[in-house]
């Protein structure tokens, strides 16, 4: 579904990504793990068109058809093609209500009935959001904001969803719920997912494939189950043992 080849991204003179290549098959959950500053967020931002890569290519195939190069397509045009990105730090519109945030998620959808259906679906996934429909998003708790950020992304009816550290700053119990929802979104709706996580254990548990990024390079890749057994991964990202 997504094929990244030799992606290089610079911030001024700093090279944040060196020749990163990733393959994300349709219907899968793929996890990108790595320490602070490894380049995970940079990878997602380059895919969603927020950053202009210095080299390499990104190909995306929305339907089972020909892949299209999206390397320099601006972010707002990718939403129409079925890409959605839940950014690091959630970035909900804090000055808008929960309902308005979700409506903005469906910004490109003109069909009111479809928006309504999508809204019901999101409220089904996150009933808490329905209870807080009229609340200003800035006053939601961190966990609720994360649900809203994911819900907002779902409102665009994506085929490919990227999540940047959905567990950050959230109580363990809620993290478990959110991960269950991610699996549900993937299974029930066939939405392909690229997940960035510091919580490598949990992320690899629900993923099919994993990539390990270190200082802007892919240093390991493989089936999630295999990565979880890999001694290098275990010592660096899974808390030893």
């Amino acid at each position: 579904m997504l094929e990244i080849k030799n992606l290089t991204v610079n911030y001024g003179v700093i090279t944040a990504l060196h020749d990163v290549s990733l393959t994300i098959p349709r219907g899968s959950i793929v996890t990108l793990i790595g320490g602070n500053g490894a380049g995970k967020t940079t990878t997602l931002r380059a895919i969603s068109g927020l950053l202009q890569p210095a080299g390499g290519s990104i190909h995306y195939a929305a339907e089972n058809g020909r892949a299209e190069e999206i390397t320099s397509v601006p972010a707002h045009q990718l939403v129409r093609r079925g890409l959605a990105h839940v950014p690091e730090g959630r970035m909900v519109f804090a000055n808008l209500t929960v309902q308005e945030n979700l409506q903005m998620g469906a910004y490109l959808q003109r069909d009111k009935a479809l928006i309504r259906r999508e809204l019901d679906y999101v409220f089904g996934v996150f009933p808490r959001l329905q209870e807080r429909e009229k609340q200003i998003a800035g006053t939601l708790s961190g966990g609720e904001q994360q649900m809203l950020a994911i819900g907002r992304a779902l409102m665009s009816q994506p085929k490919f969803l990227m999540l940047d550290e959905p567990s950050l700053g959230i109580a363990p119990l809620l993290v478990k719920t959110i991960f269950e929802k991610i699996v549900e979104i993937n299974r029930a709706h066939g939405i392909t997912i690229l997940l960035v996580e510091q919580n490598a254990n949990l992320a690899l548990e629900i993923s099919h494939f994993g990539y390990v990024l270190e200082t802007g390079r892919v240093i390991l890749q493989g089936a999630a189950a295999a990565l979880r057994q890999n001694p290098q991964v275990r010592s660096a990202y899974l808390g030893g043992a």
Binding site: S48, L50, P74, A75, H76, V79, R80, A84, H85, P87, M91, V92, F93, A94, N95, L96, E100, Q103, M104, G105, Y107, L108, R152, A153, M155, S156
Partner: protein
């Protein structure tokens, strides 16, 4: 008491004009975090657009007045969009200071072009609405132009509130204002929203320009400078970026100015009005309705 009410009405109708201009400053600041210094000249162009279009509609009537108003608003909306497209958008990635200096340049350009095309000498603004004075109980008088100022301003403010709070493009404006990156991630084309904001703000400035000219009757290419400055202060007073704040700030400034003007300190009107503002900002640095925000990088 009558004297007080009379001054209050005079103050509100002056303040309404500041409010209309202030809204443009604040909305553009909201989406781009910069002060569009050329905005006061859009106000001036609005007055001249009214001046020239009224030649085609010579006799004063409500229908003609409204037509002139609409023509000026549309002309300025287009002008505002063009200014943003040609002067500011190419500099979007540059520092705020670069854009700010460009805005001052655009302002000077419009003023000089105005002097070149319209002539530097003041022109008499024609009567576009029928003129009549209404005497209320207690000897208070309300001129028809004051009524028009108040009615037009109220209609503009209510429509603006509807657009910003209830429509999709208005919600998108608020979304872009809060976080343009998140806005583009939901599919909002921020360029279109920014153009729309410039158009809307410039149309309101044009309405302000017409209403101002109806009351002061003389227009010239530098007429925007002082009202523009005051409207900018009004926007800061209300909390820059905050739409109801700009309206409130404008009205307040107009009222303060009118009362000082009617007192024995009238020579120092502007000084006293600004001193009051400085005092308010000392106690509420983010403005009356504004919230302090950490400068985003």
């Amino acid at each position: 008491m009558t004297e007080f009410l009379q001054q209050l009405i005079n103050g509100l109708s002056l303040g309404a004009i500041y409010a209309l201009i202030a809204l443009g400053y604040t909305m553009v600041y909201g989406v781009l975090r910069f002060i569009n210094f050329a905005h006061s000249d859009v106000f001036m162009i609005g007055a001249f657009a009214g001046f020239y279009s009224s030649r085609a509609l010579p006799d004063a009537s409500v229908a003609h007045g409204l037509t002139v108003l609409c023509i000026a608003m549309i002309a300025c909306a287009i002008l505002g969009i063009v200014i943003e497209r040609l002067a500011y958008r190419p500099l979007r990635a540059r520092s705020k200071l670069t854009v700010l200096i460009t805005a001052i340049g655009v302002s000077l350009l419009l003023e000089n072009l105005g002097q070149f095309i319209f002539g530097a000498a003041p022109k008499r603004f024609p009567q576009i609405f029928p003129e009549k004075n209404l005497t209320l109980a207690g000897g208070m008088t309300l001129s028809s132009s004051q009524i028009i100022v108040l009615v037009v301003t109220i209609v503009c403010l209510v429509s603006l509130r509807f657009i910003v709070m209830k429509t999709k493009i208005g919600t998108a404006m608020r979304a872009v204002s809060f976080n343009p990156i998140a806005a583009s991630l939901v599919g909002i084309n921020t360029d279109i929203v920014i153009s729309f904001t410039f158009g809307l703000g410039s149309a309101l400035a044009a309405a302000g320009g017409i209403l101002y000219s109806m009351n002061y009757q003389a227009i010239d290419p530098l007429m925007g400078i002082l009202p523009g400055l005051k409207a900018f202060v009004a926007a800061v007073l209300g909390g820059i970026g905050n739409i109801p704040g700009a309206a409130l700030g404008g009205l307040l400034l107009g009222v303060i100015e009118t009362f000082v003007n009617g007192s024995r300190w009238s020579t120092y009107t502007d000084a006293i009005a600004f001193a009051v503002l400085i005092l308010i900002l000392l106690f509420k640095p983010a403005g009356l309705l504004g919230q302090l925000e950490v400068e985003k990088v």
